[in-house]
């Protein structure tokens, strides 16, 4: 083994290299996104995922090795959901005033999301594992993976579908909502948070604090709603 190979073997087996890689790639992607005025297509999560994916494939690194290092970042998904209590607290008055539209949009949006996944899966005749794993696609990763496991889905597949949904939602939200002529920041934020969880919420906070807050409210409520609805939907598919 050459010294370079020895060093690679030493570093690639540990957490440091993969943790550093994730932060460096994300920092660059985030800076580039800022340079193009936060254009939705320059979504930092989207570009970090493929760049790191290409690096892993090119270097022949198993995902599990990478994840052991990047786990420290992944772990913070739970605490960041808890931390959404802050924007909710700071905007509690405006949220309380919109309680009726929030509750109705939550129920309608959540049922529509799950229903449309089932319809799509039926049209394309998807294998059950993909369908079941896609049901919680609009809930935030940490929450969705737990739900998927409990209904016999593949938690890793769910994580991918959830993150991809978040990216797609964050990229399409601004142009789509403009096209639909929805100007109300509360409605815009709530829709993107419900459909595209944390990635959408991060995007919404870039646009406006009020939009971000409603996205955060939608994301946390939909985590709850999805946890209730998916087991029902899964038993419906199974029967």
């Amino acid at each position: 083994m050459t010294p370079a190979e020895g060093l690679w073997a030493h570093l690639s087996g540990g957490a440091l290299l993969w943790l550093t890689l994730t932060l460096v790639v994300y920092s660059i992607a985030d800076r580039l996104s800022l340079l193009v005025q936060r254009n939705p297509l320059a979504n930092p999560v989207l570009h970090s995922v493929w760049v790191i994916g290409v690096i892993l494939v090119a270097s022949g690194t198993p995902y599990q090795t990478y994840f052991n290092g990047a786990y420290f970042i992944h772990f913070l998904l739970g605490p960041s959901t808890v931390a959404l209590a802050l924007p909710l607290y700071e905007n509690r008055r405006v949220v309380m005033r919109s309680l009726v539209p929030i509750v109705v949009a939550l129920v309608v949006g959540s049922v529509t999301t799950i229903g449309s996944v089932i319809a799509c899966a039926a049209i394309f005749n998807l294998p059950a594992v993909i369908t079941i794993s896609s049901l919680p696609k609009s809930a935030t990763s940490g929450v969705a993976m737990g739900i998927s496991q409990s209904v016999g889905g593949d938690a890793s597949l769910t994580a991918i579908i959830v993150v991809a949904t978040g990216i797609v939602g964050a990229v399409m939200a601004t142009p789509l909502l403009n096209l639909l002529r929805i100007q109300d920041r509360r409605a815009r934020g709530f829709a993107v948070g419900l459909a595209a969880h944390g990635v959408g919420t991060a995007r919404a906070f870039q646009v406006h604090p009020l939009t971000g807050t409603f996205a955060g409210v939608a994301m946390s409520l939909n985590g709850l709603m999805t946890a209730v609805l998916v087991p029902l939907a899964a038993s419906f598919i199974g029967s």
Partner: protein, 128 residues
Amino acid sequence: MIVGLAVVLLCQLIGEIFAYTTHLPVPAPVVGLVLLFGFFLLRDRWEWLPFSLRSEEIDKTCETLVQQMALLFVPAGVGIVQRLGILEANIFGVLAIMLVTTAISITVTAFTFRFVSRWFPAPTESQE
């Protein structure tokens, strides 16, 4: 920072214990969010709380976590390298689920929100 992180983790921990013992289908972080929200409300009234629990530190930790939330999705997203086979075999269905259902979800939710908020206008909006 440390006190802030401790408070946030404590809320999530209590959420985890709650979800485990009650068997309710509620995600632990969501229970934690409700608890932390309650803490923020009570903090304004409870003047006897130790200074570190009343300081801005907790707010700053939360702010950082919320601002950097997008980064946290990267490790799970990279997992796609592991499942390329099954995704490729069902590429059209998977794309439809990602693109079509997400667009439907955003559209229906936004229209519902706007429709209902016109029927139930915010009671005190005009005063601010």
